[in-house]
Homo-oligomer: 131 residues x 4
């Protein structure tokens, strides 16, 4: 079995698990650029002790390079857990993250998201970096 | 030795390692609220293959609760590494993260940040949650 | 509030949340040495969808150095979650981890563990490194 | 671009980046079973400030289930970094991890490993779980 067999993809407008990558289409090389990733942009995903998005990872594959880099990893760790029972706790983390990066060349941003009961989901988005 | 002995604190305006927590002073219970954490707000921290901020964690300690919750963990994983040598790579992740949370009561936000050569740093900030 | 205020400690023979560090008392500098960390060595901790140990982190504070290093971070991510409901899933991760390290000098190993409802716990252990 | 395009695979006897999964071929349902993952079993991978294995993740895809579960995530965070310069530090984490799991049915274990300059690598291994 290959890892590809367990990573699911779909249109994020129809499927609530797909991580959406928000980034400018074009940036300047070396400039600081904010990239946001989130699950449930169009259709909210549940956020309960029993069912939630646990993490999102963001990668960058340079056009002129063979290997991908992990830019950031976001873990969402509070989902209503409590000594008083599930969904009685005071804190919930929603599946949205932001990171600031500097890129030296064009390439592809790729995100993977993990739902604790629906497994792994992916998406990608081109980013053009001008010299 | 206690864990407290290895977590350093200081004024973030004078010390570049201290994680700054940006959050509203007062929020409504159950509302979605964005919290940003970052290192180097006033004085930039280096971001090189050899020296960088690796992660920031954000916790919430409810006023009316004994135990703290981890809200989110942010890892910054690209720091110019490359097969062509250190600081030749195309990607750098800056130490800034954002998460969206819902809180059920007042408490304290606490952040810890980890520099790969200067160790652990902390800060905290009150957040008032109105019913 | 300081981070120390939210990290709890106790005797691991009496308190099931305390992370136990298993390592040789003395090692040779530069030798590969296995270090195990675990929660619940004497008294098992629950492992359910609603209540479980989420992670353990292991640090090293050199005797002759000001700053601590993070050696490893272990996340335990499967706790019976399932589309069929909590505790119906096929997989449970127990809170035990092992890492192999090489150390260049004596110091202290420190572990922190996070229970999703009982928060943060710590312990430490000296390790002597002979030249 | 699909995530599969950035995850590399190869025979671990010939390629030092491939994560090796050590687990019994057959286990009893619900029994605690130790699973070890490691990179460089046959050919050691470098472990320097500039080039190292950053993490390994371990997943389980049940035969009778549509979605994969993340069992554990291991981060290796010390690679000789130091205020005295790269590779002068006192601590190195080798890319080996162990976790203890309980499984309820047969399936496939999958591991991904991340080298900070050579990107993502994968492998998998069947595990038979007897009632
Ligand atoms: Fe889901
Ligand atoms: Fe630093
Ligand atoms: Fe507990
Ligand atoms: Fe490599």
């Amino acid at each position: 079995m290959k890892f590809a067999d367990i990573v699911q993809s779909a249109d994020w407008k129809a499927e609530k698990h797909v991580p959406v990558i928000d980034a400018p289409a074009t940036v300047k090389a070396g400039d600081k650029v904010a990239i946001e990733v989130g699950v449930g942009k169009e259709i909210a995903h549940p956020n309960t002790t029993e069912h939630h998005i646990r993490w999102i990872k963001l990668y960058f594959k340079p056009e002129n390079g063979k290997f991908a880099y992990e830019l950031a990893s976001f873990e969402f760790n509070a989902h209503g857990e409590s000594v008083e029972g599930p969904n009685k706790g005071p804190a919930y983390s929603e599946p949205f993250g932001k990171v600031v990066v500097k890129l030296g060349g064009s390439g592809t941003l790729l995100a993977t998201a993990y739902c604790n009961i629906h497994g792994l989901w992916e998406s990608s988005r081109e980013i053009k970096v001008e010299a």
